[in-house]
């Protein structure tokens, strides 16, 4: 029991600090120590429930990362490293998702709307959402409304996230939201990006606005709580 708790804490710490594996030299104070890669493998070998590894190890670490990022105590590079460590750990859990021994909290379909090619902000959202235990389907940039609709047809249980970085391309969110709500009225939609505001989200009929990636996670988790 103590060993379980200790290894889960270590996994969480590796995510927080961006320690991917033993070979990675960063952070310096964790040099030559196991990273998320080895620790998740060991946790599985010890028989720890994969869902527990996800929830109490990986997700716990990523939650701290989100809080630190929101408080501006860490910046995009640390989030990228944390996400890399998260991915290394998640690789070991994939077979358990396939066999339903571990489950995602839900599915998010994510994309930058038509006419807009900006990618990094959306990627950050995807990383943090994945780190919060969600499956992320990233449709990329310059995504047409019909492609969002088609993606929801394939995974109707999804929440949709729309990103835009310009006031002009932000207007394309309106049509995307309208098309999605027409085809799938029950689908929750969250929007974000530099020019987007909560008032705009209300105006176009989106369900929520997130000012930052942790805000998207908060909304997604609230939809699970509703269910």
């Amino acid at each position: 029991m103590k060993e379980t708790s200790s290894i889960l804490q270590s996994i969480a710490q590796c995510i927080e600090r961006g320690k991917v594996n033993r070979a990675s030299p960063y952070p310096p104070d964790l040099r030559d120590r196991d990273g998320a890669d080895e620790l998740v493998r060991r946790a599985i070998d010890l028989g720890i429930d994969p869902q527990e590894i996800l929830t109490d190890g990986l997700m716990t670490g990523m939650k701290v990362v989100g809080e630190e990022f929101r408080a501006k105590r860490i910046f995009v590079p640390e989030v990228l490293m944390a996400a890399k460590a998260m991915t290394a750990g998640m690789e070991h859990l994939r077979p358990f998702f396939a066999s339903s021994q571990a489950t995602h909290r839900g599915v998010m379909i994510l994309g930058t709307v038509l006419g807009d090619l900006h990618d990094i902000g959306k990627r950050l959202v995807g990383m943090m959402v994945e780190g919060a235990g969600w499956e992320v389907i990233d449709l990329g940039t310059d995504v047409a409304p019909e492609d969002f609709v088609a993606a929801v047809e394939r995974r109707p249980e999804s929440v949709v996230g729309l990103s835009a970085l310009l006031t002009t391309t932000m207007m394309n969110m309106k049509e995307t939201v309208a098309r999605l709500k027409e085809a799938h009225p029950e689908t929750k939609i969250i929007i974000g990006g530099a020019p987007v505001t909560v008032a705009f989200a209300h105006e176009i009929g989106a369900d929520a606005y997130a000012p930052d990636p942790p805000g998207a996670v908060d909304f997604l988790n609230s939809t699970v709580a509703e269910i």
Binding site: P27, A83, K84, G115, R123, T167, A194, T197
Partner: protein, 240 residues
């Protein structure tokens, strides 16, 4: 650039530059600040990535930037708009106030080209997200510095006329709708600095920037502008 300020359109009012990476002299500290670290040092791995990507940057293609000066006979300034012949920039009152006293206008554009963006994209696709992000940040910083370089060139070119420069204003900021980007580039020759503009106002290559600067004997550069703006949710807002 020796023509008198009362000149009308001449070849000398349009200038384009090719700026080599070494001329920009980007420093690791400048990139750290742009990422957000402020006075704090970035973690070692971030510093290492910045050093590595600055070496990549040093081997990049030269950056393109340039300006066009519209002389007093070509521009009329109003409190909320600028009229340049048939083109009217509806800049809004914040920029209108900033350009008070100006008699001429310079249109500035700069681009890092597609090279750095493509290299960044490849790095990310190879799983080197941090390096890709840092390279993207370096490209943003270099475009910003190209605009500063253009301002220096403008100041040098017009100092003998007794002109001064206002602050710099870009479509999409300070209440000026980004959709006017297309109007902006309609006043420059086609493919100016290798930049094309989508109908949304999006510049391609993505790492490009445009801005206007007011000129004239009474042009005034203000230290700080955000307090003039009522947009509380602006991503570049800094209330000091």
């Amino acid at each position: 650039m020796t023509a008198h300020p009362d000149m009308h359109e001449t070849e000398s009012s349009v200038r384009e530059f090719s700026v080599s990476p070494e001329r920009l002299r980007l420093t690791p500290e400048a990139i750290e600040r742009r990422i957000g670290y402020g006075d704090e040092s970035a973690p070692d791995n971030v510093r290492a990535a910045i050093e590595e990507m600055l070496a990549v940057f040093d081997s990049a293609d030269p950056f393109r930037c340039g300006f066009r000066i519209l002389d007093p006979g070509q521009v009329a300034f109003h409190p909320d708009r600028i009229v340049c012949g048939k083109v009217i920039f509806r800049t809004g009152s914040i920029i209108g106030r900033g350009l008070k006293g100006c008699s001429a206008l310079a249109l500035l554009a700069a681009s890092a080209g597609p090279d750095l963006s493509e290299r960044g994209r490849v790095l990310i696709s190879e799983g080197r997200e941090l390096a890709g992000y840092v390279l993207d940040t370096i490209a943003s910083e270099c475009v910003e510095q190209c605009l500063e370089h253009l301002e220096s060139e403008l100041a040098a070119a017009t100092a003998s006329w007794g002109w001064r420069l206002s602050n710099r204003y870009s479509p999409g900021y300070c209440g000026w709708d980004v959709v006017e980007q297309a109007k902006f580039f309609s006043l420059l020759h086609e493919n100016f600095c290798g930049i094309t503009v989508r109908s949304s106002g999006l510049m391609v290559p993505l790492k490009s920037a445009s801005a206007l600067v007011g000129l004239g004997e009474n042009a005034e550069r203000k230290d700080y502008e955000c307090s003039l703006c009522d947009r509380e949710d602006c991503i570049i807002r800094n209330d000091g």
